[in-house]
């Protein structure tokens, strides 16, 4: 019986390495000698008993079965069922252990097997060097991919200064001022992120103007950004320096070049999603995700009424809802935006500047009305939204473009058993596991083309007042992005 043992230290936290290795079919992504692989019978790749059927780059075919997997001990064991290489009774175990001194990972990979007489040396070398050592190198490379080629020069432990946009007092765009602010080094559980792109949201205008008292005057605005992790504090295991990440969090503070945040809120951005797309699409995309999959799991054939269907959030909800098979009716304020809304997937578009749309919705649906209303209008849309709702309709309000809804008549809801909800994104994203699942679904939707974040315009950080004016004047199309 031959025994091969190879061990290595990987410069990444254990959860990061385990998340990759525990997927029995991930080796096509990181192992240099694996050409193609699939799990037989479409079983999940972390199901004990599943079989991976794969081809090596030299053409050899191998079938291996997962026979043990432990998320507690970070170990899995597998065996060869049949192979073009003469390894008999091959059983291998991968075990990861944390290097607590430095937050790295110790990787132990060993196997026992029999070989035909005389080929011991050749085959143990093939396994030890070709498969295991090659795998270590491949995984290191895989982890380095998607990380910034040259990270920002930020030394850990030091405080840095950065440009930031504060609002001096509640008011118009003129209260936005560029200031230098201090960015402290990350403490326990925190990470510092050097921003590459910052998303502008209508919510930022509510905060600036004082409609939503979410921040005190003098503080930095902004709910989301994309960038590169420069350094992390103790106990951070989900990200590491060099990772490209995005976040959408409360309280505000993203209109700046560098920021220290709770690392739990950081989402790693896939390689194929650009900084601008992530900044344009994260907060609005996560919002669309919970609206259509969690708050009101949308069914094909339902009628969705989306207000401001050419805007940042409206566009994403329209795209996603129509991809899910819903009939989307959009309201917009101009003919130009009507064309955009149709391109996003609206079956019917209502051009209106005075919040009159209920009659058109009922006409377009043969009197049925809207099963789901995504409403950012607020006060002036109340009676029309009630009139546009279908029997058992669900009216979701998450914006106040015409002022906050001050009073809502319960009798108005009872006419058609309408449900009214006023949700908050950050309640949905508070749980890191749920946030991860929401982000995964969003990236997948962007990749498949179901959701296509539209970058309307890009502004330098110092031009933020102009960006706000554009958004408030309702002349902008798509999402606005700031670049520090």
């Amino acid at each position: 019986m031959q025994k091969v043992v190879r061990t290595a230290v990987i410069d990444a936290p254990l959860p990061r390495v385990w998340e990759i290795l525990r997927d029995f079919n991930s080796h096509t992504a990181w192992h240099p000698v694996v050409a193609q692989s699939e799990i037989e019978g479409n079983e999940p790749s972390d199901r004990v008993g599943c079989v991976r059927n794969f081809t090596l780059k030299d053409g050899a075919r191998i079938r291996e079965q997962l026979i043990a997997l432990s998320d507690r001990d970070h170990t899995f064991t597998y065996c060869i069922l049949d192979a073009d290489v003469p390894l008999e009774r091959y059983v291998a175990t991968v075990t990861l252990k944390p290097v607590t001194d430095g937050n790295r990972t110790f990787w132990h990979w060993q196997s026992t097997f029999r070989t035909p007489p005389g080929r011991e040396r050749e085959l143990t070398d093939m396994v030890g060097k070709g498969v295991y050592e090659g795998g270590f190198a491949g995984l290191r490379q895989y982890l380095a991919r998607g990380r910034a080629a040259s990270g920002p020069a930020v030394g850990s432990g030091e405080t840095y200064e950065t440009d930031a946009v504060v609002f001096e007092r509640a008011g118009g765009p003129e209260v936005l001022k560029l200031r230098r602010v201090q960015v402290p080094p990350p403490g326990p559980g925190e990470a510092r992120v050097c921003h590459a792109a910052i998303g502008v949201n209508y919510f930022d205008i509510y905060v600036r103007s004082g409609v939503v008292p979410a921040a005190t005057p003098g503080s930095v605005l902004g709910m989301e950004a994309v960038g590169v992790v420069t350094d992390v504090g103790p106990d951070v295991t989900n990200v590491m320096p060099g990772d490209r990440v995005a976040y959408a969090i409360f309280p505000p503070g993203s209109y700046c070049g560098l920021r220290t945040v709770d690392a739990q809120n950081l989402i790693r951005v896939p390689e194929d999603v650009s900084n601008e797309v992530a900044a344009a699409g994260l907060l609005k995309g996560l919002t669309a995700e919970y609206l259509l999959f969690r708050l009101h799991p949308l069914k094909a054939g339902e009628v969705v009424l989306v207000h401001a269907a050419a805007g940042g959030l409206g566009a994403m909800v329209t795209q996603w809802a129509s991809a899910l098979g819903a009939t989307v009716i959009g309201t917009v304020s101009s003919d130009e935006k009507a064309r955009d809304a149709r391109a996003h997937g609206c079956r019917h578009v209502i051009v209106t500047s005075d919040c009159r749309f209920a009659e058109a919705v009922r006409r377009a649906t043969d009197g049925h009305g809207a099963d789901l209303i995504i409403d950012g209008l607020g006060e002036r849309g109340v009676s029309e939204n009630l009139a546009a709702a279908a029997m058992f309709g669900h009216w979701v309000n998450l914006g106040n473009a015409t002022g906050p809804i001050t009073a809502l008549s319960v009798a108005g809801l009872s006419d058609k058993s309408v449900t009214f909800t006023r949700p908050v994104l950050f309640h949905y994203t508070a749980d890191p596991r749920r946030l991860g699942a929401m982000a995964d679904r969003l990236w997948a939707a962007i990749r498949s083309g179901a959701v296509r974040p539209v970058i309307g315009e890009t502004f330098a950080l110092g031009m933020v007042a102009e960006a706000h004016r554009r958004l408030e004047s309702r002349t902008s199309r798509g999402s606005l992005v700031l670049v520090p």
Partner: protein
């Protein structure tokens, strides 16, 4: 049962590091907080079952018994018989694993014990950082670069 786990990577072969730590009576030579140590009853320091009695720099006295020693696995297991710490059923394991990718050793030092829940945090920190990590830092320094 509380578990404390500390691990590190030492820039020397497992054989070289094991040469320093396998001697159950050698704490004063590599663990900075230990003043002096002796093996009771004149027994050899690698006889499983032997007891080391040692004194810390802060004056604390401990007695620990060697429960297992493996030159094959680079591993030693020992328990506390007497100590000033408010804990019971303390069993610790110190283990090395060669890192084949480079001449290095992966070192793990862990302990399990029972204690009053109010003492958990302090004990876990004092043992994990104050003893185990301190020992690893001393070994890393002894064997050169990090």
């Amino acid at each position: 049962m509380i578990r404390v786990y500390t691990s590190s990577v030492i820039d020397a072969s497992a054989d070289a590091v094991w040469g320093v730590i396998r001697d159950f009576n050698a704490l004063p030579s590599w663990l900075p907080i230990v003043m002096e140590s002796r093996i009771e009853d004149g027994q050899p320091a690698d006889k499983v079952g032997c007891v080391r009695a040692f004194r810390m720099r802060d004056g604390g006295r401990l007695r620990e018994q060697l429960l297992s020693l493996s030159d094959y696995d680079y591993q030693c297991v020992y328990s506390i018989l007497e100590s000033p710490m408010p804990l019971t059923n303390y069993v610790a394991t110190l283990k090395l694993t060669p890192v084949t990718d480079g001449q290095r050793a992966f070192a793990e030092w862990s302990a399990e014990f029972d204690c009053d829940p109010r003492d958990e945090r302090d004990l876990a920190r004092n043992i994990g950082q104050g003893v185990f990590q301190l020992g690893f830092d001393a070994l890393k320094q002894r064997f050169g670069r990090r």
